[in-house]
Symmetry: C2
Subunit: 353 residues, 2 copies
């Protein structure tokens, strides 16, 4: 087991990464206080709720809420059901929400904890690679609105994150590989040593060998923790975490979230951003190929589908919520392991699309 302390404006919290953590009461016990509400979804609940039994068995006042799985259920209505469960539990300000699941459950349960009595504790128990290396760390919580993803939410730091690597073994291949895209991102934007390590261990990672997997999750969380500590509310450095995401979001929207998983769209987005960086002379020739080759070895997509209309994607990118004053701000590479926020002319973007 490895532990990373994440510092933020209001204090700090530990992220535990290791095998068998869900059933390890010595870890979870430290972070349970007051009445306990476990929030999960029907997929994850079926697989992993039982593992919490050694810990939860000793707690008198607890409830559990099993929500339907899927991004389409990340709504104000589901959030409202979590609030209702907290009230049914007679939860006071010292209560704790346990969020057992992927990013959808973590975001919704986190937002419910943020807004119940103006904020109670949440412990994140992420069960997907994407949630372990990204969503569960950093305190972003929220739900979707019919008009856009994550339009409603709060910054609310968890009191602990417990990433049990065992849960990654039951992910399907596509979900697992999509999580690897965010792992590669950390190397690409700020950690050349980690990027080289990923190049050396790509096949072990796709095979989910436990020891390299522990290292990959640990290094990803460490990188994210450093960024969050420097910039909790995304005014500066944290924006770099959006490398590949402006292209990616446009592609997800253009395909109505039906074709690509988030990580897959980000992989294509990172490949495009790297090519644009090279086209603009920001990185040496061949640097974008180095990133693209790693993504390919991890069996991630790196090319736009042939039927995508460049003008349409460009218009969607203009709507990105990170833009101000109608300029398209992209994260571009300065090297492998170094990135910057760059306002980009539309023509250059159109060319790479």
């Amino acid at each position: 087991m490895k532990v990373i302390q994440v510092r933020h404006g209001g204090g700090e919290y530990p992220v535990y990464v290791g095998q068998g953590l869900l059933g390890m009461s010595s870890v979870l016990d430290r972070h349970l206080e007051g009445r306990i509400l476990v929030v999960t979804d029907d997929n994850v609940g079926r697989l992993y709720l039982d593992r919490l039994r050694p810990v939860l068995g000793r707690i008198d006042h607890k409830r559990r809420l099993i929500l339907p799985a899927g991004e389409e259920n990340k709504t104000v209505a589901s959030w409202s059901r979590i609030i209702d469960e907290l009230i049914a539990l007679k939860a006071q300000r010292d209560a704790t929400v346990l969020a057992l699941g992927g990013g959808v459950i973590g975001d919704m349960a986190g937002f419910a904890a943020a807004s119940y009595m103006r904020g109670i504790r949440v412990v994140q128990l992420p069960t997907t690679l994407l949630a372990q290396v990204d969503a569960a760390v950093g305190g972003k919580t929220g739900v979707n609105h019919a008009q856009g993803k994550n339009l409603i939410g709060a910054f609310h730091a968890p009191s602990a994150v417990i990433a049990d690597l065992d849960t990654l073994q039951t992910l399907n291949d596509r979900d697992y590989r999509a999580g690897l895209a965010e792992v590669v991102k950390y190397g690409a934007i700020r950690d050349p040593g980690f990027f080289a390590w990923l190049e050396a261990n790509a096949e072990a990672l796709t095979a989910r060998v436990p020891q390299p997997l522990l290292e990959a999750v640990y290094q990803s969380v460490r990188n994210k923790a450093e960024v969050v500590a420097a910039d909790e509310h995304e005014s500066g450095q944290r924006a770099l975490l959006n490398f590949g995401h402006t292209f990616g979001h446009a592609l997800e929207t253009a395909t109505r979230y039906q074709v690509y998983l988030h990580g897959e769209a980000v992989a294509i987005g990172m490949a495009l951003a790297a090519r644009l960086s090279e086209m603009l002379g920001r990185i040496a020739p061949g640097t974008s190929d180095r990133l693209i080759n790693l993504l390919k070895r991890l069996e991630l997509p790196t090319e736009l589908p042939e039927d995508q209309d460049a003008s349409r994607l460009l218009n969607l990118m203009r709507l990105d919520k990170k833009n101000r004053a109608d300029q398209i701000r992209l994260i571009l590479l300065d090297d492998i392991g170094k990135a910057s926020v760059v306002p980009c002319p539309a023509d250059d973007i159109r060319e790479v699309l």
Copy 2:
């Protein structure tokens, strides 16, 4: 005009107190940025929306939302309507919500600003005495749930509070006097000089004479600002602001919010808490009469209605969300201008009831 700077965890914001501030563009202009959503209710909107015209007239991208007035509309559904308006406005992270109204509008618009895109600016324009001296300052936002008041919400500091004293002249007498109860509270719990000043100016205040009114609002906000700066999230000193509120909330609940305004219930609660303080020997004989006499001169109630059942009120007090481990924690006086949090035996409370 007087200005108080309120310091809090994330920075600081000014509270402007004075006459004619709503139409004074030199004040409001400083705090408008991005697209503007004005949120108000049908009562306040009819009276005061026009006063904002000199300021808002120059702004291109703006919308306004007029909600039905009344505590019964302080719901998730109203909050959701504010979010929908922000989306219709295409508000980005740099947008500003203007909350024009009493505590209900301020709390709801504040919570919408807290949760839209994980937090945008809100400028509070409180139009009731209660909102000017209490609700608009300190960053508490939220909505009610069928099971309890303010169960859902967030801490979200405003970027400015603009308290236009002119709006107090149109309040009905009951609403106005109910606000004076919170003014008295600041003197009673932490400011003996202000308490003595209130005793010297009680009749001028009930007559709403502008200069004493400015002083009363200014001193109240200054006191609240000092408490909030010391204890933003209500772990310690901020609890003293609940003087009279545990009794008051129980009385409001027992009478289903149909008989007393919040400030009236707090006035009765302060009188009871002072009598209990005297009964327990915490304050000199006659001290509670000094508080009760001031409340009476301000035409506020100080006695429980004769038909109130003491056991029922006591049970309701046990449910107060500030209690932990099933003990009744009350704010009691140590003197005029000094108070403490005291765990109280039920029998003593029953006697004073």
